[in-house]
């Protein structure tokens, strides 16, 4: 039987994904009709980007799952027409890219590289950087990405603390959780990495109050979600010098508007949402694995619990 797989995303995604998806389906031995238009009541699986025109899932009466192209699902979890399983993307390439982006910026702030990179004098000013074993990094969010980042930073020798909503055990790190653990996590965050999901409970995790709980001179790295930070509070903390620098990859509005104060702020580095980039080849393999599981009656990987919003 030929499976009907609808690719519901913007045309530029189709250009990127058509070839690797067809290759991954062929590799898995799945006989599929993959297209951007299929009669709704004939569709078996929906490969989906939340910014697709498809917002009403009601006519997709026989579809078995919605397979998200991205890790982030916050704009789809509230969709009341969606009653079939929703899987988030956990792309090994995306995870690797995230680990590399975070590792690079943690090392950059740890070593104080900016003063060398932006140098405009000829002063040989000796300094001894601390070792990673003397540097405390806190990862807010211990999902798949946060865990992968934690493992790498531990391997590099940092003192790593993780904070999550619910209790977790992770070898080699101090794992804190809940509101009680948050105070300790903030106090330890010489470098804070934000990898929490975007939910009502995580909005403004860093705000005027919690920013003051971080050590003076702390660094903030946000490759997670824009709403995790109260932007006005962060700007005030940067202006006062309490926070030394913020490296931000995600924003409440993207692209970041040209008149946003983050662009010109000397203590802010803006990167254009590049930390968590899905790679088409590895992502296609992950999508096809879930289709194979659906057909084999095995549980889907990376299902979203919509009651929690992630």
């Amino acid at each position: 039987m030929t499976l009907n797989i609808l690719f519901a995303a913007r045309p530029e995604r189709w250009k990127t994904y058509e070839a690797p998806l067809r290759a991954a389906l062929a590799d898995a031995g799945i006989d599929a009709h993959l297209a951007t238009e299929i009669a709704p009541d004939q569709v078996d699986y929906i490969v989906y980007a939340p910014n697709s025109p498809l917002q009403d899932f009601t006519p997709y009466t026989r579809a078995k799952a919605v397979l998200n192209l991205w890790a982030g699902v916050e704009t789809i979890t509230g969709n009341e027409t969606l009653h079939i399983p929703l899987a988030r993307m956990v792309d090994p390439g995306l995870t690797k890219g995230m680990v590399e982006w975070v590792t690079g910026h943690v090392m950059r702030h740890h070593l104080g590289m900016d003063s060398d990179i932006k140098r405009d004098d000829a002063q040989w000013v000796y300094r001894t950087p601390p070792l990673a074993q003397e540097r405390s990094v806190v990862i807010f969010g211990l999902g798949a990405l946060g865990m992968a980042v934690a493992e790498t930073l531990v391997m590099l020798g940092f003192k790593v603390t993780g904070w999550s909503r619910s209790p977790k055990e992770v070898e080699g790190i101090t794992a804190l959780h809940g509101p009680g653990g948050l105070d300790k996590a903030l106090a330890a965050a010489e470098i804070a990495v934000l990898l929490l999901p975007d939910t009502p409970a995580t909005e403004n995790t860093l705000n005027a109050q919690t920013l003051t709980q971080m050590p003076k001179g702390a660094f903030i790295i946000n490759p997670g979600r824009g709403p995790l930070i109260d932007d006005d509070a962060l700007l005030a903390a940067l202006d006062s010098g309490h926070i030394a620098h913020a490296t931000l990859d995600v924003f409440r509005v993207e692209p970041l508007p040209q008149d946003h104060p983050y662009w010109a702020h000397p203590s802010v580095t803006v990167t254009p949402h590049i930390a968590a980039e899905t790679r088409a080849s590895t992502a296609s393999q992950a999508l096809v694995e879930n289709i194979r599981r659906g057909e084999a009656g095995e549980p889907f990987l990376n299902l979203v619990d919509r009651s929690l919003g992630y």
Copy 2:
């Protein structure tokens, strides 16, 4: 019996080392008279910095070893008055610091961070950085530091090649050696890390000829020794754009003179010899371990082969 240990280095070193050395001696249970002045014919061990006033070892008739405070020994290996064992410093803290400095700058160039850090516009220009598994890094020099760097870069996922004078086998990396291997190593060096010793054979390893053998747009990272690079040839390769950027921590003359073109060159990052910094606490433990070995009749660690110059 009390051992007489002469500390022969500049006064600022004594300030840094006296307390940790005394602590390490006490921890090892060694009864020692540690001082900056001792009658030469009474000295048992010499803790030594090559820029110390002590340059004539002839009167130190009963000394058993010279224990260098630094990794670099090129200014002492030619000393014809030195006939006792010479050990170089292999400080675990130094090695960690080197690995961190190299890892940071490899990640920085790999991710193309400088365009974000030095940004002076408000342009959201999307880009997909390659993954480490798509990036080839070549480490020139597979001594203790080169090996430690190689291990960490392998763990981070890079395609790592190492080049050394004599054949070596290192798990997870492509190990090349000798003049034949050099051509291959240069051709693979999207990012080159120089960790060769400073010997007549390694001077100008990167010169007008070898620089052209590197891929266009390559990055050079030199935490090794200044003379490994022909500076004029590097400046020409940077000006032509064949080499994208050089991050240099060591120079033929240090501090780097204020009128040196490296300071103002937009494609050069100067750091003030901070990559290979000995940490007094861990270095003191290493020095004392060699004294313990000498007294126990065990072979010294990290002996220098003066016929090779390292």
